[in-house]
């Protein structure tokens, strides 16, 4: 084959493959093939999920062994701190029972969903994100177990993500730190107006937008889901604590960063709140 013909053949192959890829992107974006592509993706994940579970079960103890051997001292110290914190939280919970009852009455009167009344589903984390450009993780519960797209997922102290895709037996959860996530939140102050929290990437704090000059966020202030503005999440889910407040524009605007209260570090199980947003 002459060099010219070979080069022409190579370029033609390149053009055909590039056009095929662009066609696939266009079909996915425009929606004509989106549902079919989603079904194929869910099926592929479900086919691989038994392998993921086995590998996770095999590798986790090995990782825990090495981690425990290296971090034994700090683990003991952390255990003691956690016991002390748990005792304090139990006391606080008992003291807050009356306030909780009053809050539930108010939320019922305003027809806002209350997280404590929602059915929940425990799910195991079986895989992290395959892409370096999305902050997601995979759980071992899907539509067959009652998981639906848009359901909030909590771990530990608060909200950790939202179900992005639900297959028959597995689901993908988008974490609140993913750059594509925007959630409606409220500061802990009385009569605080709802604002939006935006993810900025793995390991980065969330950033609040819509914080007006008359709001006075302070470092350590709790931030909850607002459950209003046609939001897709129920009210009252802890999201994070204010980690920094920067003033700009002559003190007219504030840049507020929020450190998430929930972390997936070393978490094996999460809880899916079986709640759908009001249409």
């Amino acid at each position: 084959m002459s060099t010219t013909r070979r080069n022409t053949s190579q370029r033609l192959t390149l053009v055909i493959l590039v056009l095929a890829s662009i066609t696939a992107i266009t079909l996915d974006y425009r929606g004509q093939a989106s549902s079919g592509i989603t079904s194929v993706r869910n099926a592929a994940r479900d086919v691989l999920s038994p392998v993921q579970r086995v590998l996770s079960d095999v590798l986790r103890p090995i990782g825990d062994f090495f981690s425990g051997a290296v971090n034994y001292g700090s683990a003991v110290s952390q255990n003691q701190q956690l016991r002390s914190q748990l005792g304090a939280l139990r006391r606080e919970a008992l003291q807050n029972q009356t306030a909780e009852h009053q809050l539930q009455q108010i939320l019922n009167a305003e027809h806002l969903p209350y997280v404590q009344n929602l059915p929940t589903l425990l799910a195991g984390v079986i895989a992290g994100s395959t892409s370096n450009f999305q902050d997601t993780f995979e759980i071992d519960r899907g539509k067959g177990s009652g998981v639906g797209v848009g359901m909030p997922v909590v771990a530990g102290a608060g909200l950790v993500g939202i179900v992005l895709s639900a297959g028959p037996s597995t689901s993908v959860v988008q974490t609140i730190t993913d750059p594509g996530v925007v959630i409606g939140v409220r500061l802990d102050a009385p009569r605080a107006l709802p604002v939006e929290a935006e993810g900025r990437g793995t390991g980065y704090p969330l950033e609040l937008s819509g914080v007006t000059a008359n709001m006075s966020p302070y470092k350590g202030e709790l931030v909850y889901t607002s459950g209003v503005m046609g939001d897709s999440l129920p009210a009252g889910l802890p999201v994070g604590t204010v980690s920094s407040v920067h003033y700009s524009g002559g003190l007219l605007t504030k840049t507020v960063q929020v450190a998430p209260v929930a972390s997936l570090q070393g978490v094996g199980y999460v809880t899916v709140l079986q709640w759908f947003p009001t249409p």
Binding site: M1, L55, G128, Q134
Partner: protein, 179 residues
């Protein structure tokens, strides 16, 4: 490529999926993990030449897109361009030591692939990563691929039925390396 070579390539892709999704996804360093799919596209270009490397890269990209939630076709577009570019570079005349050349190409291909993904993703409205996280991704992917390119290249050579490394460059120079 012969059907037998394609079946070996398919087997290699299946093993890549299992290792990436089952093991590699959990090896996170500074918010990033290695990308074996990109590595397979790079070694496909290195061993099978620009034309067949691009075809393998296209298939690998479609498979990779099944396990992410970025737009379907984005990975295949990036991998086609990377594999073709790597294959075209590998087929340029000039004496070079195979291993150091492969490592250099792996690093360059990893950086190019990651930046292409970011750039094309931005063009179609995908959220962008913070700059510091992008640097982490570039570093982790490039270093991992530099370490793994030689064994991965041997596996791809077996899959596409290419001879020993000493004949690789001569074989791929024409882009029709595979029997």
């Amino acid at each position: 490529m012969t059907p037998r070579a394609w079946s070996r390539v398919a087997l290699l892709i299946v093993v890549t999926v299992i290792v990436q999704v089952g093991v590699i996804n959990g090896l996170v360093l500074e918010g990033a993990h290695p990308d074996l799919f990109l590595l397979v596209a790079i070694v496909a270009g290195l061993t099978a030449g620009p034309q067949r490397g691009a075809m393998i890269g296209f298939v690998v990209g479609l498979v990779a897109d099944l396990f992410v939630l970025t737009p379907f076709g984005l990975s295949s577009l990036v991998f086609v361009l990377v594999a073709f570019g790597v294959g075209a570079t590998a087929s340029l005349p000039g004496g070079r030591a195979p291993n150091s050349f492969r490592i250099t190409i792996a690093v360059a291909g990893s950086i190019a692939g990651t930046l292409l993904f970011t750039g094309i993703g931005a063009l179609i409205g995908q959220p962008h990563l913070p700059r510091a996280q992008l640097f982490s991704v570039l570093a982790v992917v490039a270093i991992a691929n530099a370490v793994l390119v030689i064994p991965a290249g041997s596996l791809m050579s077996w899959a596409v039925n290419i001879g020993p490394a000493s004949r690789d460059l001569a074989a791929v120079r024409g882009g029709s390396a595979v029997r």
